[in-house]
């Protein structure tokens, strides 16, 4: 369930980000701009790469959110379980 919670919102965000980004930027521009890795990138590969890049970034952000929510819940429940101050 956590995997889904991380992957699904970041997937949606990646869709939106890809549309916005590639509406303005032609992936072929990456050929000249990026490292040699991009030198013979075609458009389809560029779109895919961009999409997975955004998905990855989104997934990192989502996992951080999940982690922060969970760890605060753990602390909360630990505090509730602990006997009240004497």
């Amino acid at each position: 369930m956590d995997v889904a919670r991380v992957l699904w919102p970041s997937f949606l965000a990646a869709c939106g980000a890809s549309v916005l980004f590639f509406a303005v930027v032609d992936p072929l521009l990456l050929r000249g701009a990026g490292p040699r890795l991009f030198a013979d990138l075609d458009r389809e590969a560029g779109y895919a790469l961009g999409f997975f890049f955004f998905w990855g970034i989104g997934a990192v952000a989502s996992s951080l959110s999940v982690f922060l929510i969970r760890s605060s819940q753990h602390r909360q429940s630990a505090r509730e379980r602990a006997p009240s101050a004497p």
Partner: protein, 466 residues
């Protein structure tokens, strides 16, 4: 508007952050007005999806979001990345329409038009065709594996997979020319990315419509969560008439239910059995309800058989249920409608008045100016001309904004074929006596066969310091 808590029978989540294993839902098949409507919606919408990809228009695919070529073809219209404005506006209009319809009629989108609903419906038809009715499916799932069970289950999976792969292929066919894709598939020469995305979408269809189904609506869909913000007491919802139905129960035969102190609901639970999200509509409005109206279709015939009026479960509003007058025109509706009208108006107007021509003027970077014979000053420019129209045009260049400004090049009209970019070098000249300093000039381009296709761009003409 308040939504009731989870339906009875659904196990409450153990703790936030933990996943309550979903119970498999076996929706019972149902016949009636709204199921017929949904059947039509499935035929029309999926017919459009699978069919429109093959439509041709002026010798090319009618609807093609050609990502490799960075052009969108929408019937007679060709959109370039520069036209992103139209796509953005179109998305805003789509979102506004959804808000408007939701405020007016609740979740009709969810029940009849959402791809999730439509594909799930199609997958369920296959399931019913191979595995039979609800009770047959439940029984077979509890029985040990036999040849027949394997055959029926295997057949279902095979049909699902075929349909999913075809769906993925069609989806990719909206982004790459589908006829070429089709030929590539037959020749086993489909490109790696096209294959990947086709399978990706196929897997999503198969998973969402075959297995996840109502869980997509319950756990994944953001719209399902925030749609309650768009509902108000005058929104059309599907509701059980508590006052009429309760107390529910089966009375003794031959005596009117009322005389026995019972309501109209005989507690046959058909409304629960047909529900694709597995809720009990009698518990009140719930966010899981996708307004598919299957429970109305299930309840109406029961009311007919019992000799009571239809509509124990019906489309109604919260106000109507409480006997208050229903209002169609609320501020919310009016505002959504006005925004929608304004957005569509802007889109229509800008599409009609759109000039299918773009001119970019780039000054020569090597020299500010050049002296040419006849005591004249020359500036050089590169013109980037994009012909967005669907046919070839010849354009003539005009320069203005300075006295005695002449165009030395290009001397002939510039021909640009449909949908292409042409780079042209241009040279402008002016007498030295008039050219001193920096001048703002304007260059305009007009199609010779269609004077309304014209654009004007500002540029600078630089001469020696006076």
């Amino acid at each position: 508007m308040k939504l009731a808590a989870a339906a009875p029978g659904e196990s409450p989540a153990v703790a936030p952050g933990f996943y309550a294993a979903a119970q498999k839902i076996y929706p019972r098949e149902v016949k009636g007005r709204f199921s017929r409507l949904r059947k039509w919606a499935v035929f029309v919408l999926l017919g459009l999806f699978y069919g429109v990809a093959w439509l041709q228009w002026n010798g090319r695919q009618a609807l093609l979001f050609d990502l490799p070529a960075r052009r969108f073809y929408i019937f007679g219209l060709t959109l370039w990345p520069q036209d992103f404005f139209y796509m953005a506006l179109l998305m805003i209009i789509a979102a506004l329409s959804l808000f408007f319809v939701t405020a007016l009629a609740g979740r009709v989108w969810c029940g009849f038009a959402c791809p999730q609903t439509v594909w799930t419906e199609l997958f369920m038809w296959i399931e019913q065709w191979t595995e039979g009715t609800r009770s047959q499916r439940i029984r077979r799932d509890q029985q040990p594996w036999t040849a027949e069970k394997a055959l029926r289950k295997g057949g279902k999976q095979l049909l699902w997979l075929l349909l999913a792969v075809h769906t993925g292929f069609t989806f990719v066919g909206y982004f790459n020319p589908i006829r070429t894709l089709g030929a590539q598939v037959l020749g086993l020469a489909l490109g790696p990315w096209a294959t990947f995305w086709a399978l990706f979408y196929a897997l999503a269809t198969y998973g969402n419509a075959g297995f996840l189904r109502e869980q997509v609506c319950k756990y994944m869909c953001p719209y399902a969560r925030f749609q309650s913000a768009m509902l108000d007491p005058d929104t059309l919802i599907i509701s059980y008439d508590n006052g009429r139905g309760e107390p529910r129960g089966v009375g003794r035969r031959g005596i009117a239910a009322r005389a026995q102190g019972l309501g109209d609901c005989i507690d046959c639970t058909l409304c629960v059995q047909v529900c694709p999200t597995g809720i009990d509509i009698r518990a009140g409005l719930q966010y899981e309800c996708i307004a598919c109206a299957a429970c109305i279709d299930a309840c109406d015939p029961v009311m007919d058989r019992m000799g009571t009026a239809r509509g124990l479960i019906r489309y109604t509003t919260e106000n109507a249920l409480q006997g208050k007058p229903a209002r169609m025109l609320r501020p919310r509706i009016v505002v959504y409608a006005l925004l929608l009208l304004a957005g569509s108006g802007v889109l229509l107007y800008s599409l009609v008045t759109r000039t299918p021509l773009i001119l970019d003027v780039i000054r020569d970077r090597n020299a500010l100016f050049r002296e040419v014979h006849g005591n004249r000053i020359e500036n050089a420019y590169t013109l980037k001309i994009i012909n967005l129209d669907t046919r070839m045009h010849s354009y003539r260049l005009y320069a203005s904004g300075m006295e005695q400004l002449d165009i030395a090049a290009p001397s002939a009209p510039i021909a640009v074929s449909a949908g292409t970019v042409e780079s042209v070098s241009a040279r402008l000249q002016a007498p030295r006596a008039l050219a001193g300093g920096v001048h703002t000039i304007s260059l305009s381009l007009a199609a010779m066969d269609a004077p309304q296709i014209a654009v004007r761009e500002k540029a600078r003409f630089i001469g020696p310091n006076p």
